[in-house]
């Protein structure tokens, strides 16, 4: 295999993995607070179309990012009201959120299906981009990819080095104790859910504005669900989320290259690959019951309300 092609695949894998990075890191924070939001797919779709509309109307990436994040956060806000205030079942509400998001995004995008956007230019960092190999691999992406790297650092620092992150993790493990210590469990969970929604929205914006700058109904194509699986795969650790995101990015890209290498496999069978890989990885991770039990936030998915205890 030509080294240049290999490099190209790697670069493409990073771009393909970026929506996973945003959505999965957002969901990681949500789940660390003990809330399971299955609406990622719906939030990504709504984020994608709102960001796309904003970009088409204003031409400003900043506005698009802001609108997409707000849309994702708004949708997760509905989820938060349902599950945290009204104490609805998190699984049912999350599913309904996805169904709602799929319908809403299809509706909002009716008039935008045939428009193409210019895309987001790559930024070659001065000097750094000139370094052979490494320069191309690390320093010539578009701004949203750099931001996803920053997000990773911020999330890791927040979770493991800041006091607020410690409180968040504590709430996810033992909401009762956190409440007894005087922390407002519901308020902090609200913030975690909203953050998760905003990041899912941003992941959607990346898809519709930068990765494939156009709107296609249902264009998220299961990436929201893969992001949820990634959080499990990563056993709730940010660094492993990053690895998993790029790994799945690489698998997504690989399907386009396998035919190029002369393997005669029908395209439809190839496009199953990322999803079959997800199942296999889940089997490997979940096989040992302790891996999941020891790593997942102890109160994940369980409704908590201080008045009820």
């Amino acid at each position: 295999m030509d080294f240049d092609i290999f490099l190209q695949i790697l670069i493409a894998a990073v771009a393909a993995g970026t929506p996973f990075v945003y959505a999965a890191l957002g969901e990681l924070i949500t789940e660390k607070s003990g809330v399971l939001n299955l609406g990622v797919e719906g939030m990504m779709l709504v984020g994608a179309i709102s960001g796309f509309i904003a970009m088409a109307k204003t031409g400003s990436l900043l506005v698009a990012v802001f609108v997409g994040m707000s849309a994702g956060a708004l949708l997760s806000g509905i989820f938060a009201v349902l599950t945290l205030t009204l104490m609805a079942n998190q699984v049912a509400s999350g599913l309904a959120l996805t169904i709602f998001g799929v319908g809403l995004s299809a509706f909002l995008g009716l008039e935008y299906t045939s428009i193409a956007l210019p895309g987001v230019p790559e930024i070659n960092l001065p000097l750094l981009a000139k370094i052979p190999v490494i320069g191309k691999l690390f320093f010539s992406f578009d701004i949203l990819i750099y931001c996803s790297g920053l997000l990773f650092m911020a999330v890791s620092w927040f979770l493991y080095k800041s006091k607020a992150g410690l409180v968040l993790r504590g709430i996810g493990e033992a909401p009762k104790s956190a409440h007894a210590l005087g922390y407002n469990v519901i308020k902090i969970r609200y913030m975690a859910v909203l953050f998760g929604g905003a990041m899912a929205g941003l992941g959607g914006v990346y898809l519709s504005v930068a990765y494939t700058p156009m709107w296609v109904e249902g264009m998220v194509a299961g990436r929201g669900w893969v992001s949820l699986a990634l959080v499990v795969f990563a056993t709730w650790r940010p660094a492993r989320v990053m690895f998993g995101a790029y790994f799945f990015g690489a698998i997504t890209i690989a399907q386009f290259h396998i035919q190029g290498f002369g393997f005669d496999i029908p395209a439809q069978l190839l496009s199953m690959m990322p999803y079959i890989a997800t199942i296999i990885v889940l089997v490997l991770i979940s096989r040992n019951q302790n891996t999941i039990r020891l790593n997942s936030p102890a109160s994940l998915g369980i409704t908590y309300h201080p008045d009820n205890q």
Partner: protein, 349 residues
């Protein structure tokens, strides 16, 4: 929400209701739309009773339909009274197989069934696209060079008989009702059903009583998948074109019944018999939403999405009432409920 789109909500709902239940034609259409919802919903009831969340209805419908179609393609000359039961069985087997994969992964490898069923949905859809573009495509499509991904007109012997002259209501309605009653008996009148419910209610106690948890989790998902598979088969053989067609995604074939069936089951309190009125309500909503789309240019996708949310409010208000009941307080949960719906409607603009 409807107001903001320039339509009168009251007359809108009136339009929906008349279209769905106001005439025999409308009602026949409603029952046809309710079939897959009811079957998937009944399957969901069984899975949820075992504490397994089956989101794989879409994929199980597709796999059931594919196997049923393959059977119809293989034995086109069989008489109706043999071929129809055969294709329905094939649908059940295909769906059960796809459900059992997720069940076994959950039972023996501890894989979250929520994630595995979603992944299997996507795999099933790609498999359908592959088969309908390749091995199972209508030879006429290749001759003409149009290449529409669909099978040929399936054997007439497999057509589901029409129950009412000149309408679309077909045998599938009876099959679905029969399955719903059967599921009720399965859950509450047989040892299998007792084990499934017991595993869902308290796995530790079940294990102590000698009930195999993994086996019953797997069989619950297999039953659940079987019902979705029958739904898929009925969609093919009760369709007007009597072909299996793909538009590249799953919803084009299933009409999202694999997801909406979950809502049907939740609204029915996870009871197979209550799923019947619940499915009729949602089937009516689908028919009504289409009518409203024609009458008021309100996209039906949005109406369905909104109605899905409303149901969640119903479910959540249950929790709300329970919470106050537990705390021993007297409150009016209803106005809070309405208040949320109003603010939610404002969000979408």
């Amino acid at each position: 929400m409807l107001l903001s789109l320039g339509a009168n909500p009251l007359s809108g709902y009136a339009t929906m209701f008349t279209a769905a239940f106001g005439s025999l034609e409308g009602f026949s259409e409603t029952t046809v739309k309710s079939i897959p919802l009811l079957l998937v919903g009944v399957g969901i009831c069984i899975a949820f009773r075992a504490n397994v969340i089956n989101i794989g209805g879409e994929g199980q419908m597709v796999m059931g339909a594919l196997l049923a179609t393959a059977v119809a393609l293989a034995f086109p000359a069989f008489p109706s009274f043999m071929l129809i039961p055969m294709v329905l069985m094939a649908g059940a087997v295909g769906g059960a197989f796809w459900g059992a994969i997720a069940g076994a992964l959950k039972a023996y490898f501890n894989v979250s069934e929520i994630l595995s069923t979603i992944m299997l949905n996507i795999v099933a859809v790609q498999f359908m696209n592959f088969l309908l573009r390749g091995p199972m495509i209508d030879p006429a499509e290749i001759e003409r060079g149009t290449g529409i991904p669909q099978t040929m007109r399936l054997s007439e012997n497999a057509d589901l008989p029409i129950l009412l002259e000149g309408m679309r209501m077909h045998l599938g309605v009876l099959v679905a009702l029969l399955v719903a009653v059967g599921a009720y008996f399965l859950l509450w009148r047989t040892a299998i059903g007792f084990r499934i419910r017991s595993v869902g209610y308290n796995p530790d106690a079940s294990r102590y009583a000698g009930i195999s948890v993994p086996k019953n989790v797997t069989s619950a998902l297999a039953f659940s998948g079987a019902m979705a598979g029958i739904a898929g088969a009925i969609l093919v053989f009760g369709s007007e074109s009597h072909r299996m067609v793909t538009d590249g995604g799953s919803t084009g074939f299933t009409g999202s019944a694999g997801f909406n069936g979950i809502v049907v089951a939740l609204l029915a309190g996870l009871h197979p018999l209550w799923s019947v009125p619940s499915a009729l309500l949602f089937g009516g909503m689908l028919v009504g939403a289409n009518a409203l789309q024609r009458a008021a240019q309100v996209p039906s996708a949005l109406i369905i999405a909104l109605n899905g949310l409303i149901v969640v409010f119903v479910v959540s208000s249950e929790y709300f009432k329970q919470r106050y009941a537990q705390a021993g307080r007297v409150e009016e949960p209803d106005d809070n409920d309405n208040g949320v719906i109003v603010t939610e409607g404002g969000n979408n603009e």
